[in-house]
Amino acid sequence: MRGAARFAHPVFWLPTVLTLLVVAALWSWVAAGNPYVLPTLPSVGRQFLDQPDLYLTNAWTTLSEALLGLLAGVAAAVLVAVLICESALFRRGVTPLAVILNVTPVVAIAPALVVAFGFGMTPKVVVTGLTTFFPVLMNTVTGLRSVDRHVLQVFRTVDASRLDVLLRLRFPSALPYLFSSLRVVFPLSLVGAIVAEFSAAGAQSGLGTLISVASSNSQLDRVFAAIACLAAMGSLMLLVVTTVERRALSWHESQNRR
């Protein structure tokens, strides 16, 4: 109830709306002077009105790739973070690998991905997973380590198993860090999915494919309509994470309102 009321209050949405209006004004001004660089806002809007289905179905493709990739990437990152945190040997072994995966440009390994995973959705999910992996890994490692010394001592005096320390102590302590990274990777997963659609053969649909096709035809209005979809999805994902975070971290200083 209070949550919903919060959203309805002008203080909540007015700044957002105002910023968007300012951006729109700036946009229109630039677009008027540079019709080849930015499409006009009405022409972008018309895209949605003319073919809502086109954007909905492609957005859905990209969103489902992004969400599956998120699931895989976040799960893998948390798992590896746990292993890194539990074993320095593992950390030294795996960190260089993680960096390699992180800096390898997708376009370079796109053929390998298609060979390994076929033309379907899998390579896109893999790319998205790789994109989300590193930020979550780094934050979760720090989070798992940021355990209050005294509480850890209490747990150690009762000979808490590593699993208990992990699940009941380290994991909750890591949540503020984990959520910070989730706020990063939820929107970022969309970028991962799009880049995968750009660069791996076999992309039949998705906003990335749409942007790629539209830009090869110089259909600026379509490109930017797709970007608008992405921005909307990204903002929504961020809102979801923030809302869950607010509930899950009500005990943490970072959620104090002043």
Binding site: V151, V154, F155, T157
Partner: protein, 278 residues
């Protein structure tokens, strides 16, 4: 019960323990050649000037720090083995509650983590009913509040309840009543004595209150600082059960006086500039 040591051997034994924090120039000698023998079922208080190494000693016994030299044995085992046998209950100097759990959750989580101790089968009312335990400590109304919503004393009592609920064989307590008013403290003391007598728990109790140490203990160990060492031991040969009414008796005062004297000599050489300002 497998936790029985050889007859006559002390239950908690610290032998010639030394502990230095850090290394190089910045190192701090916290403990030097400390001996402590606590027979089974004894209530031993440790008292000493601030910074003399009481908490360090307690952490050494709990196996939370390794001594640089010397040994620590609990019931003939290493602290690690004692922890594995779920013998230890520890109340740190700060409440150290989990901020994301409410009071009851904080008591229960440690019980759950300590689960194998339940197998001892000797569980009495305490652990099986943390709510009653918390109620007796005056926290019955705040079972579902989180640590951030509690007063300092309430947090301290929650930490106390958490340790009591473990029904440990050795209870290591680091100034557990420092944030409590006189009456709440008295009530908590009584409950501590209950636990101690019912379970034949061995207690090592750090406090700054001489009266409290004398009232509760069989033995008071006075420590001195620079580096931390045992300055003297006072045996309190008063009858049990004791009660707060005894606080003003001559016997009690006599013991308090001895402890205070020891403490004063332990304290004085350390901070010569401390007292002459008036």
């Amino acid at each position: 019960m497998s936790t029985e040591p050889a007859p006559g051997a002390p239950f908690v034994a610290v032998d010639d323990a030394c502990k230095t924090y850090g290394d190089g120039e910045k190192s701090v000698r916290a403990l030097a050649h400390v001996d402590l023998q606590v027979p089974r079922g004894r209530f031993v208080s440790v008292i000493g000037p601030s910074g003399c190494g009481k908490s360090t000693l307690l952490r050494l016994v709990a196996g939370l720090e390794e001594p640089d030299a010397g040994t620590v044995r609990i019931c003939g085992r290493t602290p690690e083995a004692a922890r594995a046998a779920k013998l230890i209950g520890f109340v740190p100097q700060v409440p150290a509650l989990l901020p994301w759990l409410d009071v009851l959750g904080n008591v229960r989580v440690l019980e759950k983590v300590n689960r194998p101790a339940g197998r001892r089968g000797s569980r009495r009312g305490l652990a099986s009913d943390p709510v009653a335990l918390l109620t007796r400590l005056g926290l019955g109304d705040v079972l579902h509040r989180r640590p951030g919503q509690l007063s300092g004393g309430m947090q301290q009592r929650a930490a106390l309840a958490r340790a009591f609920a473990l029904e440990p064989q050795v209870l290591l307590m680091d100034e557990p009543f420092s944030a409590l008013d006189e009456f709440t403290r008295e009530s908590a003391q009584l409950q501590l004595l209950d636990v101690w007598q019912d379970l034949r728990t061995t207690v090592v109790f750090v406090t700054h209150s001489i009266a409290e140490a004398v009232l509760l203990s069989d033995t008071v160990v006075v420590m001195a600082a620079g580096p931390g060492r045992v300055a003297g031991v006072v045996d309190i040969d008063l009858d049990r059960p004791r009660h707060h009414g005894q606080l003003d008796t001559a016997a009690m005062h006599e013991h308090e006086h001895r402890v205070r004297q020891l403490l004063e000599t332990a304290w004085n050489p350390l901070e010569p500039s401390g007292r002459d300002v008036a």
